[in-house]
Symmetry: C2
Subunit: 366 residues, 2 copies
DNA sequence: CCCCCCAGATACAACGTTGTCTGAAAATTA
DNA sequence: TAATTTTCAGACAACGTTGTATCTGGGGGG
């Protein structure tokens, strides 16, 4: 599977000393002082056009590009024109939509985004975040993973601008952009109750994550509103692997048998639908998920969801961050982005107790 | 939607001069020279343990963290322990799987990944890539967007290590990790031909992208093998927006009517299935897509695909890059990652000319 | 007792760049 | 024409750090 390319010069093995030209080389070639070359590179007007032309030609010949590391070290304003983005998981659709939105806003301002994906590991979150800070980013956008962001307190008091997205930071106060998690969850469950469901299960991620707490609260309040006693056996948390979710769904139908499910996160929704397919229950058990995903409308049956707007969240977070970088002072703010119930079918299946019971008996026999 | 947090100190508005402590502050507090403090920070053994302890305590008190920008500037080896990753679109599942794999490998080596998403814009690709190079990254992993990467020639000859993923670079020779695009496409189309299809359409992305060229070649060769004359009207390229794809699919069935489709990219597959649903053709027209996507197995009908292995591609790319950074010299290599036909249903629909014709007539009337 | 050596600390230069200050020549004014 | 201002190039320091050279003092050997 490895083939070497036909005869060409070797690549790799950088001789790190002989590398890139510096402004000194440019000045030398142009026959001016180093500072004059610097002036030309930075478009300062106080240079004789003749000389400027010579410098520019030299820079072009050498393919000179300023070393931004050196520049950032020296520049008075101390802006590196770089922001850091910490994601809980780059391959989650929610994350990558946020990333894309942030990059688009940053791009308009010629700001580079340094992103780190921490795979839901709080230690990695901390390491990555501090590594970004040590690189002197102008600000941080974080989708928190762990339940303690206090390691940022010093950075913040040193003036680092921080915006959290999706999940509020814990033990730290920062600008935050979040969805209406409570309201959305409540709406989802109300919707299921309106369809006639009474045995509704909650499938959620790690219990300490702020969004999960809110979504579960919404779930419980919707039940209470309808005077439905919550059944603890129908509340499953700590789901974050495909296997775990599959197992949990099967377990649910082995013993208790909900007639509807509320899945509190996009990956959980996806895996739950997959499990329902395997159990041939997808047409018999209703489901509403929190957070939309790419193919939700062409799944069988199409999945009803509480849709978040990750692009808007990323956009707002980036804008809040840039305002702070531009000098806005004031107390930390929280922006809540509304969510929307999208009805597609999975949450509005006709209820037929008979068929469901039949299928479940069949399953339990097997 | 904006609420201010209850009484706390303000955030933002960094006083950029009074910011973070430097090693000078640490040395001062510890009562030693700057260089001694530096030695302690860098775990050099030639320091009296007494003093070392004092320095460490001072560093802790001040919450000192080295300024990596300054360090990188000075350090002899010139490694910044940072690599750049340029993606064609962060929100594409393929891209984000690559990103995740690269970050995982990099993380093991304590390397930070700076990534840029360029939204399939060649100019942005160039800008972003050079911006990363100017930040002195130790290497670059690029999923090329444009049809000319020669702007990197100087960087490369200055010793920058570059690995391309998915799409080969054009007008430049670098290490490359790619799928077996030709073989995969051929296999997909052979599979459709084996099911009895003769009128097979090709739906592809921008024509200049290396992968598209290969996949189209595979498509055409499979037809030729079976002595099927390709019909130019069934070859649609330059698809890259949801609307465009929807429109193209509708157009296909207005005039010519393929009985099967080969969609050459994941986004195209998704939108094509969506369009088929709208036209109520999803059970009548067969489809095989190139590149898998998250919900492909629970879509109605489940989508048969040629699955790539983006995680493996990212992993291999990162490993090749690190080998180069570690000093491996030699000609540029190309690694081909095998692909796999996954049969799920959409490519194996029973052919019923009658029903299809009926539905099409109905459609054209409307 | 002197010299040397070594451990271990400090002083100074350097990385590539930009901020500040100085100086020289040109341009303007009196 | 002399005095003064303006223009603009260059010298030098500095950013925060590490590499190298130098210094200091204490211990051991002659």
């Amino acid at each position: 599977m490895v083939e070497t390319a036909p005869s060409t010069g070797s690549v790799g093995g950088r001789d790190r000393r002989s590398a890139r030209p510096t402004i000194k080389d440019v000045a030398l070639l142009a026959g001016v002082s180093l500072k004059t070359a610097s002036r030309v590179i930075n478009d300062e007007p106080t240079v004789n056009p003749e000389l400027a032309k010579k410098v520019r030609r030299a820079a072009k010949v050498l393919d000179y590009r300023p070393n931004l590391i050196a520049r950032n070290l020296r520049r008075a304003d101390r802006f590196t024109h770089t922001i850091g983005l910490v994601l809980f998981d780059a391959s989650n659709q929610f994350s990558s939509a946020v990333q894309r939105a942030v990059e688009n806003i940053a791009n308009e301002r010629n700001i580079v985004v340094i992103s780190s994906s921490v795979e839901e590991d709080p230690q990695r979150e901390k390491d990555a975040t501090l590594a970004l800070a040590a690189r002197q980013v102008d600000g941080l956008i974080i989708v928190p993973t762990g339940d303690d962001q206090s390691y940022l307190a010093n950075e913040q008091s040193n003036g680092m601008n921080i915006v959290c997205v999706d999940r509020s930071p814990q033990l730290l106060r920062t600008d935050t952009v979040a969805s209406d998690n409570y309201g959305g969850a409540k709406e989802a469950v109300r919707h299921l109750i309106k369809q006639g469901h009474k045995k509704i299960a909650f499938l959620g991620d790690r219990a300490h994550i702020a969004t999960m707490i809110e979504r579960r609260r919404g779930f419980l309040d919707a039940l209470e509103e309808a005077a439905i006693e919550p059944n603890p056996a129908l509340i499953v948390i700590d789901l974050h692997t495909a296997e775990g979710i599959n197992h949990a769904v099967r377990a649910l139908f082995q013993t208790d048998s909900p007639t509807a499910l509320f899945t509190a996160q996009n990956l959980i929704t996806l895996e739950t639908v997959r499990a329902l397919h395997q159990l041939k229950l997808e047409k018999l058990v209703s489901l509403v998920g929190f957070d939309d995903f790419a193919a939700s409308d062409i799944v069988d049956p199409p999945v009803s969801v509480i849709a978040q707007d990750p692009a808007e969240m990323g956009r707002r977070a980036a804008m809040m961050l840039f305002e702070r970088i531009d000098g806005r002072v004031g107390p930390a703010e929280t922006v809540t982005i509304p969510v929307k119930l999208i009805i597609r079918g999975s949450g509005e299946l006709p209820i037929s107790e008979g068929e469901l019971t039949a299928r479940l008996t069949e399953l339990r026999k097997a």
